[in-house]
Assembly symmetry: C2
Homo-oligomer: 248 residues x 2
DNA sequence: CCGGTTCTTTGATCCATATCAAGCAATGGC
DNA sequence: GCCATTGCTTGATATGGATCAAAGAACCGG
């Protein structure tokens, strides 16, 4: 790893008494998040402005239209971002896991709501102080830009999915995405943990609960996946799933 | 205007013999694009690396999967960005007009294809030299980030549209977006110019050509819009259109 | 461990939009 | 200015997924 990690390097345990300002040093998702742009020293500055918080399932973290005072980094658990129409129709625009960030705003207000699906731990960075940091650490600015670019690319994939894929193709794509993202977090690619319910999956894929359920059953019956206990799904035939996801 | 423009200020015409390196100085969309971050002096550096090009309708500017060597800025005309599935199903992820930029990449290759719809003029910035500039001019980095953030927000709006809106709501949203974007370019908000065909609109909204056509007819019959010559549509009842777009 | 709540699955039916099929209108090359 | 091509509209029919309905299955608080 190119980032220096003195405490790991000399095999000492970080001592909380010596490092009271380093909650970030031990962060399990640092290498995935905005913070990966900073070395151990620069992390000090970040640690000074960060507020760590936990949220319970169904708790709203911020709502669409709220004044966008903070940027957030998910460090554990699953969060969903969504937008609503006046009559309650909902589109989930993304599921966030450890290492993902959220809170980009346009015109000073959040463009979507964020709600915890599982118990969630989150780092909150006051936007103003964060912007100051971005000026001081261009590396961080780049990192944020690169993460936004990635988000944009996956938003475009999602448009293709929503606009042009069938229910089966949507579900296959979704499961494979969960698998790929699990790998990025250092988790096994199989079986995958699916912490969100059928209704949430539906609102993410532009389907109803019932169609999600039926389509899961189809893939199960075709022996492409297997449902396990504890919100887990085993991918039995990944190649078949990939073919379906690409519309082959 | 806060950006200094010496030649405008003293009422002299820019002399091409004296200003051969200032194609950007006279750019009609400068205030909308990446370049807005730069003052007249800094623009010199940009002008040095820029390559201006024109493209004819149906011409591909770059293709999904191509090595992402450049960033682009549309200065005139209409461009579409799209992704394809193996069997030819297409999702248009965006229409670009003067001032819009494109070419963000992930993993070194373009994530979508870009094709001219009308005759188009484009500024092309070699990525490598552009990145150098971003380091030298943090303002520009910020500008790019802010533009990417806006793109992300409208991508999320589009997900809501694709996943949860009806054909009528989709079309109403589309027409209003065209109108709002025309205003940003200093054009009248009404009537709007709709340079793309029904098939392209369909592939943008997740509908077929026929459904787009039928839905346009519906709005026309309801006297909410009127079709004019030259790919123009007049919005007759904007409030009704807005209500439809929001699902009211 | 029990009863209530919530989530998931399955079934029957419906409908918005896709698909298939022409006819019609605009556009462009010669 | 005419024909060929392409794009747009309209009509008839089909269908994937929505909706309505209800029976399991998992979960949870006491």
């Amino acid at each position: 790893m190119s980032v220096s990690r003195p405490f790991a390097a000399d095999n000492r345990q970080p001592d909380p008494a010596v490092q009271p300002m380093h909650p970030c040093g031990a962060c399990p998702v640092r290498s995935l998040s905005i913070c990966a742009a900073l070395d151990y020293h620069e992390l000090d500055h970040l640690a000074e402005i960060v507020i760590a918080k936990n949220h319970q399932p169904h708790q709203t973290i911020f709502a669409e239209g709220d004044e966008a005072t903070d940027l957030f980094n998910v460090t554990g658990g699953t969060v969903m971002l969504y937008k609503l129409l006046a009559d309650g129709r909902r589109q989930i625009t993304g599921f966030l896991f450890g290492g993902d960030f959220m809170g980009l705003s346009v015109g000073g207000v959040y463009a979507y709501s964020a709600e915890a699906i599982t118990p969630v731990s989150i780092c909150r960075f006051p936007r103003k102080r964060m912007e100051q940091m971005l000026d001081d650490f261009p590396k961080m600015q780049r990192r944020l830009f690169s993460m936004a670019s990635n988000e944009l690319a996956s938003a475009q994939d999602q448009m293709l999915l929503l606009g042009r894929k069938t229910a089966k193709e949507k579900l296959a794509s979704f499961l494979l995405n969960l698998s790929r993202r699990a790998v990025r977090r250092g988790q096994p690619d199989n079986p995958i943990t699916v912490p969100m319910g059928r209704a949430d999956i539906g609102d993410y894929l532009g389907l109803t609960t019932e169609t999600v359920s039926r389509t899961v059953t189809q893939l199960k019956t075709a022996s492409i996946i297997r449902l396990l206990d504890g919100h887990k799904i085993q991918i039995v035939d990944r190649e078949a799933l990939e073919d379906i996801a690409e519309g082959l």
